[in-house]
Amino acid sequence: MELLERFAAGDLDAFETLFREHQKEVYAWTVRIVRDHGIAEDLTVETFWRIYRFRARFDPAGNFRAWARRIATNAALDHLRHGRRETELPEDLPGAGTADPAVLLETRSRIRKAFFQLPAKYRLVATLALIEEEPYDKIAETVGISAALVKVRVFRAVRILRKKLQSLNAEAIAK
């Protein structure tokens, strides 16, 4: 019996083999979404827990890697919806040119604040498309939506960010 068939039938040894083969990849994908190593480790275990739990739904003729990545994306999305905010990045990021470093840091701080306020589904696609620069069709496959909808969500995320930034800037000026 093939490995995937044994896994689908509930064989724990087959599951362990798959876990060891794919844990690095699932972790690497997850950490790029949640941007925290500890949370990504927990979510990797959660992903494989879901994989094991729903093993009967997996078609052994199917693509295990793609299935695992989709489950990992859903687990990360659940975290973005319900979990605490990601660890803040250090403030001493490299400057982008000639602009005043203090102004740049302030702008980035506002961007981060606005970004964390985005609805989870927009934050997920914005992270993958704009920060990690993943192609739309790959994002579509892992999130389980069309590439056109990914494009729409990215567009909306940018639009919401622009509005939030305008209001944060107005608040800063008013202070």
Partner: protein
Amino acid sequence: MTNKEDDKEIKAHLKAAFPPLQDTELRRDLWPQMLRKLQEQPAAGDHVPWFDWALAVILSALLIVFPGAIPALLYHL
């Protein structure tokens, strides 16, 4: 500034605020953690808890008694 230019600027700021992660390497084997979770919460497969069945029966009964609630339920789903 036009919205398009504004969007480009936002994307640039976003990339600067969240630089792509360089270190995405898993530093330890997570199998022991996985095994612990499996022991704590044995996977039930596709087993549906009795509470979910009870909820489904109550909901069905309510919808039979109050069919007018169906559109409201569909709206909230």
